[in-house]
């Protein structure tokens, strides 16, 4: 095997030949030892390399600990091993991983692998025959490795040396894994809070670009998170378009620059389907790590319902104070006159008629207020039957005749109209309300009732030649207690409830009510609403 130079031995000097042979053996032995040494070194280096590769591979504390122990078992030819890590904010040591067989002699470690302090752990390991304890880190947190041989064996020193050389790495890797776990846990918990919140939570970076939007936000804005990322908050929320605030007055930018949180500020955003959603927001700076510029977080709560209720209450108070007090004052005045003045019978009768008139208005107001409390209740119960528009109009004409005020109504209906499937009483209420309104604002002009078929709907229109409703007010007059400014100035009495009631009744039938210009361009208003046609196939099981 070994290539020794084959110089011929000097035959004449046998002792020299022996010396040379001796030297050759000696050199061969030295070479063998050096080779084995090199092999061992290479093995140890490779073992260390594999261990550090394992440490760098991440994973949970338990996974990493077990993998490391399995590696060490083989390295040190051990029967078993366990890792103990100091608990956070505590002196107790807890077993985080074990591998191999339990130690003989000392008995198993205490229940759940827990020790009261490092000394307890050390003294337990000291009781294991041949066992060794290696402190991977002495403090913050203390990490101990216990390793023991089989009952009749002993640990391999080369392997233990590798473990000792790598002990700081081991300690750091395990502590790192634990921190990582804690971080992941914390992130999960915080994420659950943000994702579970019913308020819209939105985070922007230093350039006001959206970096986070929670599921409640997705729902309320009607967008997917993915399509919001990187867009500006003004673009995503649509604050300016919804009338919340101008982009230049963005509260997110404000807190980001000033650093002072805003506890409460109302605004409006563009909700799902383009509707305006009124929001109460609180704003704060998002702390940033390192050199990154700070972003900001907004928590927005939908207060549309609360706002609507507030508006209703305000409108109610204003209307009641005006509409109740005016007839009451009249009644009181006439009643006092009747009581204290000597009036002739003709005058007395006139006063009583006026009292009757005023009580009529009061009664109508009370009826309307009661109506809207019913209408606010959802769902409205309808008693639907099959009927036709001409019969509904005829009923209205009958009522108007009885009141002696049918002279201005023009009925302009197509000759053949399909059946309707509606609550006759409720639709009658809508018609008489709309015609009454038209007559109130244009007492001497004709009111035209028309209709057209727009399957599966019948579109009914009521046109008047009154003062009209300003474009900007058309949506608002359909809300309770709202009256357009030109009507408020006209001194024509009203509660602002009529159109709202009509709208709710039409919507209860599934239809829509809207206010338009008259198609012939003349001044006045067209109110158009839709009602469902009778569809025999669908009537069963319908409400």
């Amino acid at each position: 095997m070994d290539r020794i130079p084959a110089t011929p031995p000097p035959a004449d000097r046998p002792e020299a030949v022996d010396q040379l042979r001796q030297r050759i053996r000696w050199l061969e032995e030295e070479r063998r030892q050096a080779f084995e040494e090199a092999q061992r070194e290479a093995d140890a280096l490779f073992a260390q390399y594999q261990l550090s590769q394992l440490l760098a591979s991440g994973g949970s504390v338990g996974e990493l600990g077990t993998a490391v122990l399995l590696e060490l078992l083989r390295l040190a030819r051990a029967a078993g091993a366990a890792l103990y890590l100091q608990r956070e904010g505590d002196t107790d040591l807890v077993r985080i991983a074990e591998a191999g067989n339990p130690p003989s002699g000392a008995g198993p470690d205490p229940a759940a692998g827990r020790f009261d302090g490092i000394e307890a752990a050390r003294s337990w390991i000291a009781g294991i025959p041949g066992g060794r304890v290696i402190a991977l880190s002495e403090s913050d947190p203390t990490t101990l490795l216990a390793i023991w041989p089989a009952a009749d064996g002993e640990l391999d020193d080369d392997g233990l040396r590798v473990a000792l050389l790598a002990r700081h790495e081991l300690g750091v890797a395990l502590t790192g894994a634990r921190l990582r776990e804690a971080l992941v846990q914390e992130r999960h918990e915080l994420g659950a809070i943000v994702d579970g919140a019913t308020d819209l939570i939105l985070q922007v970076d230093a350039d006001d670009r959206v970096v986070r939007l929670n599921p409640a936000g997705e729902r309320q804005l009607g967008v997917a998170v993915a399509e919001t990322m990187g867009r500006t908050c003004g673009d995503v929320l649509g604050c300016e378009a919804a009338g919340g605030h101008r982009v230049t007055d963005c509260p997110l930018a404000e807190v980001r620059i000033s650093g002072v949180p805003i506890a409460y500020r109302e605004t409006a955003v563009r909700g799902a389907g383009g509707s305006t959603v009124r929001m109460a927001g609180s704003y704060a700076v998002t702390p940033s790590a390192g050199a990154a510029a700070a972003g900001a977080t907004a928590i927005l709560r939908d207060i549309s319902a609360a706002k609507a209720l507030e508006d209703l209450r305000e409108g109610f108070v204003a209307t009641v104070s005006h509409e109740l007090r005016t007839p009451l004052a009249l009644i009181r005045g006439y009643a006092e006159s009747l009581l204290y003045l000597d009036l002739d019978p003709g005058q007395q009768r006139q006063y009583v008629e006026r009292i009757d008139d005023a009580t009529g208005r009061l009664a109508a107001l009370v009826d309307q207020i009661l109506d809207i409390t019913h209408l606010q209740a959802d769902p409205l119960i309808l008693e639907r039957t099959v009927t036709t528009l001409p019969s509904l109009v005829a009923r209205l004409q009958g009522e108007l005749d009885a009141a002696g005020s049918n002279d201005q109504l023009v009925v302009d209906l197509p000759v053949e109209l399909p059946d309707l499937y509606v609550d006759v009483g409720r639709v009658g209420q809508v018609l008489s309300n709309l015609v009454g309104n038209a007559r109130k604002y244009a007492p001497d002009a004709p009111v035209v009732i028309g209709a057209s078929i727009d399957r599966p709907w019948l579109a009914i229109s009521v046109d008047d030649e009154g003062i009209g409703i300003p474009e900007a007010e058309r949506g608002l007059v359909l809300e309770p207690f709202h009256r357009a400014w030109n009507v408020r100035e006209s001194r024509i009495p009203g509660t602002g409830l009529g159109l709202f009631i009509c709208r709710r009744l039409v919507e209860a039938h599934g239809g829509r009510l809207e206010i338009l210009d008259r198609p012939d361009g003349r001044p006045g208003t067209r109110v158009r609403f839709t009602l469902p046609l009778a569809d025999r196939s669908k009537m069963d099981g319908d409400d």
Partner: protein
């Protein structure tokens, strides 16, 4: 999945064989290995390693992405390119043993990851066993393969069944030695060695890893082929000219 067909159909047949969907081709393997190997034959065999590793690098890396750190294919490509470049620079009269030892050193130095030192050890041990022989006969080759497997087991502290390179190399070395001892030609012995190695590589699929990075996966390492065992089979096939 349809894999790109190489000129000799090797990529699909190896993959198919390991998936258990392989049907044996009717064409017999080319007789590139004669009864003895000289330095030129050893060089040619080592050159084939580079080609095979390059062809299968993506597959090996994909296998390694499951169990390890996803660089096995790339690492071996780097290693065997370095080996190829080195061999070209070596004089023609270099002995087979010296060639193999040089390959071992080059692999240890050039390959990142554990596979470099492990394959390097195998080539070093084989080269040491070849010593200063000018040609390698069947018995020498058997002893070289056995030495390679033993050296790899020692360095990796691994045993058959640990889900490593050794699961391919050890049964292949054993099959080769047994065939030679029974009087078979090196040609026949190589065929048996590769079949045994393929069985060994396939056997790593259900194993739970006991060595290497796959340790951290524990039970989850079962159900996947070991990338080392597969690359070892590829190298054996390349060396054997199959």
């Amino acid at each position: 999945m349809k894999r790109r067909q190489g000129g000799d159909g090797a990529p699909s047949s190896v993959a198919a064989r390991l998936r258990g969907t392989y049907t044996r081709p009717t064409v017999s393997a080319p007789a590139t290995v004669t009864d003895v190997l000289d330095a030129a034959a050893v060089r040619a065999a080592l050159g084939r390693c580079r080609v095979v590793v390059e062809r299968h690098a993506a597959w090996l890396t994909r296998l390694d992405a499951v169990l390890g750190d996803g660089d096995h294919g790339d690492n071996l490509v780097i290693g065997f390119r370095a080996v190829d470049d080195m061999l070209r620079a070596m004089p023609d009269e270099t002995l087979p043993g010296d060639l193999l030892r040089a390959v071992g050193h080059r692999l240890v130095a050039a390959v990142g990851g554990a596979s470099g030192p492990l394959y390097g050890t195998a080539f070093l041990e084989a080269g040491a066993r070849a010593d200063d022989a000018v040609t390698l006969d069947g018995a020498t080759m058997a002893s070289m393969l056995t030495a390679a497997a033993d050296g790899l087991a020692r360095r990796g502290r691994s045993a058959v069944g640990d889900k490593t390179i050794l699961d391919t190399l050890a049964p292949a070395a054993l099959a080769f030695s047994e065939a030679i001892a029974a009087g078979a030609s090196p040609q026949t012995a190589i065929g048996r060695a590769i079949r045994a190695g393929a069985r060994g590589a396939r056997s790593t699929r259900p194993m739970v890893a006991r060595r290497g990075l796959a340790l951290r996966l524990g039970e989850r390492s079962a159900g996947h082929l070991d990338p080392g065992a597969v690359s070892c089979l590829l190298l054996l096939r390349a060396l054997g000219g199959r």
